[in-house]
């Protein structure tokens, strides 16, 4: 093992001392696991379909742009220039790969083109690159199985990195375009990139090359790296694929808001996920993974999640679940609330006594809770639509929905501001507002239509050419300063309103009132929603562990408290508050040395360190043996990057890192 850098860990079949449960106990919530698993799979596959559709459609605009470019490029080919497309694809590798796969399918679909996509890792040098290019462009493997590096075409023997091979093939198949794609343009060695571009330039009078270069940052960065002679021959166009943040927002909306999701991600977890992706990876695929993990965790850890299954029937398994249901905080609150009013005593009593009744009640309530969440999403959409219509679009729909989920949207300052703005809206803005909101709120359509009708009637009479104004519009007010007894008094004066304006103000107020009532009905605190424990999943800890591992921390912790990991009998199991960090010779030497090094200053005298180490080690051990162990431990610490040799002081080593680096 010592001579390998990595090795495959093959555990022996005997089970570890710390036993996990293997079989489900019969009386616990575990009995519904099968059903939950099925439900999870079913719900997730529905969700995944929606997500996949968004992912597939995400870049359709850019794709069609590029295809258009490829089609036209033949006619616009300038003398001695290589047509070249720069595709700005962001820094996420997954996005790039999936995009280029889509592109390749589309380009090849016409049958008259050839497509070779190459990423930097595959081609370290020019020869390798050309081999790969020819192989991919021809998309035929058997032609290369010959003896050595040569290919024979039409009696001519050519080396397998000779572009002549490609030339022959292009002539034979009458290919219109050979698209060469550098998937990650910046990751290529600049000189390799320049060499390949030079070659494509030289051959472009014989092979119809088109070059596509995927970039993460900007065209300028590439420009700086390429030699001028190459830059001169490129005739480029820039394409943007959809930005990660926009795509992320779309994914969130499609999975959480637009459809009726069976499982809702709570605000804390949702914010954490979105923030992590925005700040760290910008990879939309991460969102899909985290969402799936949320589904898995919820259905695995929460026995009651079985109620999310649609075809649920009363059975033996249900008894414990019903009991657990009675212990849910939201159910308890509900029951306590009901008990305060005598007429509902009976129904609560029945729910507490009769399992089957409670079972049916729970199924109905979960459905109702879904409905509530859906309406809440609808309200968030209404707020978002109103905000974008009055010209404020700095808040994303996902942010608004998350605010709604945490029960803060209704009282948020920006919503109050929105209401004030609406109060001042002129008539054309109002009619636009109504027409935008109509499709969003099918349940409230009648009220809105009434308002719309009145507004239409009023506007028909209005022949002034200007939109009608609201009474609350500030533009109608003038400030007048009067001097009364040497004091300046400011008074607001309202400009006289026409009769139509006054009528319009009435309509506007009606709309305002409706919107206020609508939002306060729908935007309730989800904590108050009955059985929200089942429909909302909001736990950050499992995600943190799964998606944000801390490798350094893990190593340090293992060195600091080896007993937690080894679970051996020899080390004393501490039971006090200061049991941690006790040194004993039974611990691994590296661990002892690590803890000693933590206690010392930036420069450590090795001799002192050794005497401290010897003091801890077994007294019976030989001096030589202790020295061996010490040296090995020190070497390991050095390898882990904890200490390094220094020239500042003789016989000293320097501490490199601090805890939690």
């Amino acid at each position: 093992m010592e001579h390998q850098k990595t090795y495959l860990y093959a555990p022996d079949s005997s089970r570890p001392t710390k036993r996990g449960r293997t079989e489900a106990p019969e009386w616990e919530l575990q009995s519904s696991w099968k059903m939950r698993e099925e439900t999870c799979h079913r719900l997730w596959s529905e969700q995944q379909k929606r997500i996949q559709k968004v992912l597939d459609d995400a870049n359709s605009d850019t794709l069609s742009d590029i295809l258009d470019f490829l089609e036209k490029v033949e006619h616009q080919r300038q003398r001695s220039k290589i047509p070249c497309g720069f595709i700005l694809a962001g820094s996420s590798v997954t996005t790039q790969t999936s995009f280029f796969n889509q592109l390749s399918e589309k380009v090849l679909a016409s049958g008259k083109n050839s497509f070779a996509s190459i990423s930097s890792g595959e081609a370290p040098n020019l020869k390798g690159f050309l081999k790969l290019l020819i192989r991919r462009a021809i998309a035929k493997k058997d032609a290369f199985d010959g003896d050595d590096e040569t290919i024979t075409t039409k009696g001519r023997r050519l080396l397998d990195y000779d572009l002549g091979v490609l030339h022959e093939w292009v002539k034979e198949k009458e290919i219109q375009e050979v698209v060469v794609t550098f998937q990650d343009g910046e990751a290529f060695d600049a000189s390799l990139l320049a060499d390949v571009l030079e070659l494509t330039h030289l051959w472009s009078n014989r092979i119809p090359f088109v070059v596509l270069i995927g970039l993460a940052t900007s065209v300028e960065n590439l420009h700086r790296r390429l030699p001028q002679s190459i830059v001169r021959v490129l005739q480029g166009r820039q394409f943007d694929i959809v930005q990660a943040e926009v795509l992320l927002e779309r994914l969130y909306c499609c999975s959480m808001i637009d459809s009726e999701p069976s499982l809702c991600i709570g605000p804390r977890l949702g914010t954490a996920i979105l923030e992590r992706i925005r700040l760290h990876t910008q990879n939309p695929q991460d969102f899909v993974d985290e969402l799936q993990y949320a589904y898995m965790t919820h259905f695995f850890s929460n026995g009651l999640s079985v109620f999310l299954s649609e075809d649920l029937e009363w059975g033996d398994w249900a008894r414990e679940h019903v009991e657990a249901l009675r212990n849910l905080p939201s159910f308890r609150r509900f029951a306590e609330e009901k008990v305060k009013y005598p007429p509902s005593h009976f129904s609560v009593r029945q729910l507490l006594d009769r399992d089957d009744l409670l079972f049916n009640w729970a199924r109905d309530t979960v459905a109702k809770s879904h409905k509530t969440m859906h309406l809440m999403a609808e309200a968030a959409k209404v707020v978002h639509a109103c905000r974008s219509l009055v010209g404020k679009s700095n808040l994303l729909l996902s942010d608004l929905f998350m605010e709604a989920l945490s029960g803060q949207l209704h009282d948020a300052s920006h919503v109050r501001e929105l209401f004030l703005t609406i109060k001042r809206a002129p008539s054309d803005q109002l009619s636009r507002l109504i027409s935008t909101l109509l499709p969003l709120v099918p349940d409230e359509a009648s009220t809105l239509e009434q308002i719309q009708e009145k507004l239409d009637a009023l506007e028909a009479e209005n022949d002034s050419g200007h939109p009608l104004k609201s009474e609350h519009d500030v533009q109608n007010q003038t400030l007048r300063a009067t001097v009364v007894a040497r004091r300046v008094e400011l008074s607001k004066l309202k400009a006289s309103l026409s009769k139509a304006d006054a009528e319009y103000t009435d309509i506007l107020l009606q709309f305002h009132e409706w919107l206020e009532g609508y939002l306060s009905d729908l935007l309730i605190d989800p904590e108050d929603v009955l059985l929200s424990e089942i429909t909302i999943y909001d736990r950050k800890a499992p995600h943190k562990l799964a998606f944000e591992p801390k490798p350094r921390h893990a190593i340090e912790r293992a060195l600091f408290a080896p007993h937690d990991y080894l679970n051996c009998d020899c080390c004393p199991v501490g039971t006090g508050p200061d049991s941690e960090g006790t040194l004993s010779f039974t611990q691994p030497p590296t661990s002892i040395l690590y803890q000693l090094h933590l206690e010392s200053g930036p420069l450590i005298n090795v001799s002192d360190l050794f005497s401290a180490f010897r003091a801890i080690m077994d007294e019976e051990a030989e001096e030589k043996q202790i020295l061996y162990l010490f040296q090995r431990a020190l070497a390991e610490l050095k390898y882990l990057g904890m200490v390094k040799s220094t020239r500042k002081k003789t016989d000293h080593i320097a501490k490199v890192s601090w805890r939690g680096l």
Partner: protein, 448 residues
């Protein structure tokens, strides 16, 4: 024996200002007279070496093969390519013979050529740009030069950019120099193909012939003006000079097209459009097509950006590369009181140091260890930052984008704790990134 005057006249018309070179080449390569076994043509970029050699050989009707080294990836590729080209010229009816022979070394090439050229009395083999051959054997050029001595009919013609006796390992080889064009020659060449003023036939007073005439008149003067202002210093070869002229032509003649100036008002036009010649934009080669790049500037707001922490990482890497580790305490220790001594020796009363050092920002970035980078990153971030694998992933991404490089040998162990890193982007870029995340780089840089 006099060379064929008709051919020379034709070539001189095609390639003006190269009379001397054409005449010497034609004399040396005359089909009826003996020629030297080896010949070197040299000159800088865009002086007509390859084109003239090719046109002359075709004109003289000598069997020849032209091999461009730029198209050959390896030395072996060059040899294979050479043999194939010779075979196609000499025995095109017998492709099988070429298909069956391999040519892996210079010896094989020589033997094959000897066999091929038995019946020929003159064959010219042109190696274009042989001094730039990739993965060439060290003996390639000397061996090719001497190949004419062993193969009687063969004349080897090497086209190189700068001759040096060291690369040839022999003396007494006839060299023909193609000097760079001077101003008059450049303008004469460009005047042969003037750009039209009007892209479509003008509707007003000019009939097509006059229009062409006027275009040529303005074009010649325009080229001269461009040379005197911009191109003399920065675009001295034919290609780049022509590029600059073509780039400036449209904006220059726009007033004539719109009708505000006549074609003969050249001096007034020059004054009116003097800003064109004062700036240096025309010298910058743009990879994006012109009208496209402007459209893009307009929508650039939605640019792809690196994630927040990647930007911070880049800033930290830049600081780690350009600050010396000794100054880290001054700039990054948060507990030290606020009165930082910025810009090292700016205290009053100290006289400027005698020996002047080159500022660090002008030197190459220095390598730094990973822990220093992370330490600086922690000092830059305004809030506590847990050390997760996300950060390390981003570092890897930045390395794969070559914004940060691993210093030292690329093959070294990644797991090695002593691996060092280095920033690989310009200060402007990093300063802009820093602004985007709220880090003012000047506050942290030791000298700027």
């Amino acid at each position: 024996m006099p060379p064929d005057y008709q051919l020379l006249g034709h070539l001189n018309a095609q390639f003006p200002c190269r009379e001397l070179q054409i005449r010497s080449l034609a004399t040396l390569l005359q089909p009826t007279a003996p020629s030297p076994s080896c010949l070197v043509v040299h000159g800088t970029e865009a002086v007509g070496k390859s084109a003239i050699v090719q046109a002359l050989l075709e004109g003289l009707e000598i069997p020849h093969a032209l091999i461009s080294s730029r198209e050959c990836i390896t030395g072996r590729h060059l040899l294979e390519h050479t043999l194939a080209a010779c075979t196609t010229v000499i025995a095109p009816s017998d492709p099988e013979s070429a298909g069956s022979t391999r040519c892996e070394s210079l010896n094989t090439l020589q033997v094959c050529l000897q066999r091929l050229l038995q019946t020929q009395d003159k064959f010219v083999l042109v190696f274009d740009g042989i001094d730039r051959q990739r993965e060439a054997y060290s003996s390639l050029i000397p061996a090719l030069m001497r190949m004419g001595e062993t193969v009687p009919a063969l004349i080897v013609l090497l086209i190189v950019s700068s001759p040096s006796p060291r690369i040839f390992h022999s003396t007494g080889v006839p060299h023909i120099h193609f000097p760079s064009y001077v101003k008059e020659e450049l303008i004469r060449i460009l005047s042969l193909s003037p750009l039209p003023i009007w892209e479509e036939p003008p509707d007003t007073d000019y009939d097509p012939e006059t229009a062409t005439e006027e275009s040529a008149w303005v074009w010649t003067r325009f080229c001269s003006a461009v040379w005197d202002t911009i191109a003399k210093g920065a675009a001295r070869d034919l290609n780049s000079f022509r590029d600059v002229c073509e780039r400036l032509w449209r904006p220059f003649v726009a007033p004539i097209v719109s009708g505000s100036y006549g074609t003969r008002d050249f001096s007034r036009l020059l004054v009116a459009k003097r800003t064109l010649f004062q700036g240096e934009e025309a010298l910058i080669n743009n990879m994006l097509v012109a009208e496209e790049s402007q459209a893009i500037k307009a929508v650039e707001i939605g640019n792809h950006e690196l994630p927040y922490y990647s930007k911070l990482l880049l800033c930290a890497a830049y600081l780690a590369s350009y600050n010396s580790p000794r100054q880290d305490q001054i700039y990054f220790v948060k507990s030290s009181d606020k009165k930082r001594k910025r810009r090292g020796g700016a205290q009053a009363g100290t006289k400027p140091t005698k020996h002047r050092k080159i500022p660090r920002s002008m030197l190459a970035p220095s390598p730094f260890p990973l822990d220093r980078l992370l330490a600086i990153l922690h000092a830059l971030t305004p809030h506590p930052l847990p050390q997760t694998s996300d950060l390390l992933t981003q570092l890897t991404t930045l390395v794969s984008l070559r914004l940060i490089l691993r210093a030292g040998t690329s093959g070294s162990d990644v797991l090695d704790g002593t691996t060092k890193w280095r920033i690989n982007c310009s200060s402007d870029y990093v300063v802009a990134l820093g602004r985007a995340v709220g880090v003012e780089m000047r506050d942290y840089l030791a000298d700027n």
